[in-house]
């Protein structure tokens, strides 16, 4: 049982790390701000959660695990809010998202 948890935590840590690097490459490769926002979302949500979960499994039950859980909780609260506020501010500031085809409704900002 302990070994399974151990192995699982390694898998989580590695996957989380991979997602992080992917997100980093994403914010370099994607063409405009709004698409980069999605790439950053990858690193903010699943990457962080996986790495912290991996750590939780290493820590075992206890206060450390609880604190890690708090970090996950806070990050999952603040992450999307920050992303949303950022997108909204960018839109408000007049930044237009690059659209696939221009037949979508023109923005009304």
């Amino acid at each position: 049982m302990a070994m399974i948890v151990d192995a699982l935590s390694w898998v989580f840590l590695l996957t989380g790390g991979f997602l992080g690097v992917s997100g980093g490459i994403g914010i370099l490769r994607f063409p405009d701000f709004f698409t980069r926002l999605h790439a950053a979302g990858v690193t903010d949500t699943l990457c962080a959660a996986l790495i912290l979960l991996g750590l939780m499994m290493q820590a075992g039950w206890g206060l450390v695990a609880v604190k890690l859980a708090f970090i996950i909780l806070f990050l999952s609260f603040t992450g999307p809010v920050a992303a949303h506020a950022l997108a909204r501010a960018a839109l408000h500031g007049g930044l237009m998202p690059l659209l696939h085809r221009a037949e979508d409704d023109p923005s009304k900002s």
Partner: protein, 156 residues
């Protein structure tokens, strides 16, 4: 009143879990701290009356599990886009109607949209949510409306 009690209880739990020291001095200080925080929170609340959605917390668990699954799925999708050719992405902008009744419900909906990578809620005005999606597929799955329905079931 119910909000005050639930906030106090949750803060007390937060303190105990953070602290981990169960000596009388720290417990006493914790009690004083919690009272202070609740007092400040009350003073802050006096200026507009948005209810504390804390009582919703208990019904969240099934939703969280479902959402976690969604997050994993959409993460895989976005990572595929990142490593694949740039032409694979098709940024799209859509408008959704939030059918949730309360403000809190709408906020949960918007946050859930943002939390799943590939879709970001850009604007929330009235009951209109403007969403930017990385791919058409992501936009379409949102328009399917399952997430909105699940959030609506949360409130009641």
């Amino acid at each position: 009143m119910r909000h005050i009690i639930s906030l106090t209880l949750i803060l007390a739990g937060f303190w105990l879990l953070l602290s981990g020291h169960f000596v009388p001095l720290l417990l006493g200080l914790g009690a004083v701290s919690i009272l202070l925080v609740v007092a400040i929170a009350l003073r802050m609340d006096a200026f507009d009356h948005e209810n504390q959605p804390l009582h919703l917390t208990f019904r969240f668990t099934p939703y969280w599990v479902w959402l976690a699954g969604e997050i994993v799925k959409s993460n895989i999708e976005v990572v595929r886009c990142i490593w694949g050719p740039v032409s694979a992405i098709s940024p799209t902008r859509i408008h959704l109607t939030a059918t949730q009744r309360s403000d809190v419900g709408k906020v949960i909906y918007a946050n859930s949209i943002t939390l799943t990578p590939g879709t970001v809620a850009m604007r929330l005005e009235g009951d209109q949510i403007e969403v930017h999606a990385l791919t058409r597929a992501a936009a379409a799955s949102l328009q399917g409306g399952e997430m909105g329905r699940r959030v609506r079931e949360l409130e009641r």
